[in-house]
Symmetry: C2
Subunit: 197 residues, 2 copies
């Protein structure tokens, strides 16, 4: 076939992800996406149709990577360490800025969930999918056999509590911009779930 894509799609989606992550779905314009990816606006429209479709494509990338990282972080023998790793990962994912001096990038899914006027259709479905995935990854680790640490809640409920809590961390990060505070609060959640020490 002739008429082949001129730009490197993988690269472009990576750049788009970085920008969406930094600015959020609603606040990112196609102009900026064009500038960031090096692909002309018209080409983006031709390739993806519209902003939402492009975003969904990018968001899938994000979900895969994010959930993968969470799964890895949770894969430790002692549950307490696993949860510490998990929260460390969540916190790092939003506070790690690409260059020093830049504002932290926060959380793409939360920005999208809260910053979109009426969240419906594919966008909401994609967010649900992400939160469901994180819940599932947590659930699997929490219900792993041969665990000695006693959990204060049934695994499913604990997983949901943790997912909800991580969304809260994101908001607190925006407002206080204090990583230590985030870590301390996360440690406290671990403490009430698994007991002190």
């Amino acid at each position: 076939m002739a008429g082949v894509r001129q730009f490197d799609e993988g690269l472009a989606l990576d750049k788009a992800l970085a920008l969406f992550w930094q600015k959020g779905y609603a606040a990112t314009s196609m102009q900026e996406l064009a500038a960031a990816t090096g692909v002309q606006r018209g080409s983006l429209y031709n390739a993806y149709g519209d902003k939402e479709t492009l975003f969904l494509r990018v968001f899938d990338l994000y979900r895969e990577r994010f959930v993968g990282q969470m799964r890895e972080a949770l894969d430790k023998p002692r549950l307490r360490d696993a949860l510490r790793g998990f929260f460390g990962c969540v916190i790092a994912s939003m506070t790690t800025s690409m260059a020093s001096g830049m504002p932290t990038r926060g959380c793409l899914s939360t920005k999208t969930a809260v910053g979109t006027e009426d969240l419906e259709g594919p966008l909401r479905a994609a967010l649900k999918a992400l939160l469901d995935d994180i819940e599932q990854v947590l659930f699997e680790r929490l219900s792993r056999e041969g665990e000695q640490a006693p959990l204060a809640l049934p695994p499913r409920q604990a997983a949901r509590l943790i997912v909800t809590f991580t969304r809260g961390l994101v908001v607190v990060e925006r407002v206080y911009q204090d990583e230590k505070r985030l870590r301390a609060t996360a440690d406290n959640l671990i403490a009430v779930l698994l007991g002190p020490q």
Copy 2:
């Protein structure tokens, strides 16, 4: 003095609050504010200078009312009931829609915190003030003397955990739109903080 304000400021700020709450700070335009309040755009600029200043005025209203409600909800003899009332109040504040069929309005402070590109200056300070207030109200109730229920964390840390968690509830509400789920998750947090039953 002559040249007196023609519109009822209290009424206008109420309407503005409703709109900001529904749409979030960034997504609300002065046009819409003019339409909602019945005050011409030019008059709003004349009276408040710009959108941010108007918002800060409105946000103060919001903070007072919101924190007041939380304080009331927490004023119950048994701590467990107080926290149940608190979460009920938080959940109601975002899921109660003004008219049936309308989308829920969510949480103004969270929308502002997450939906604003780089959160700095007065806006961030206002958000901090709100979260600090809620934390303080919780702290006071949690450290009330003569409390029999044993708290799994020191009051300050418990208060921060709860504040962070409530921010998470907001995000989960946006995505799942399931009030029952919110209540269940909140009950689980109470359970791990105060023990089951």
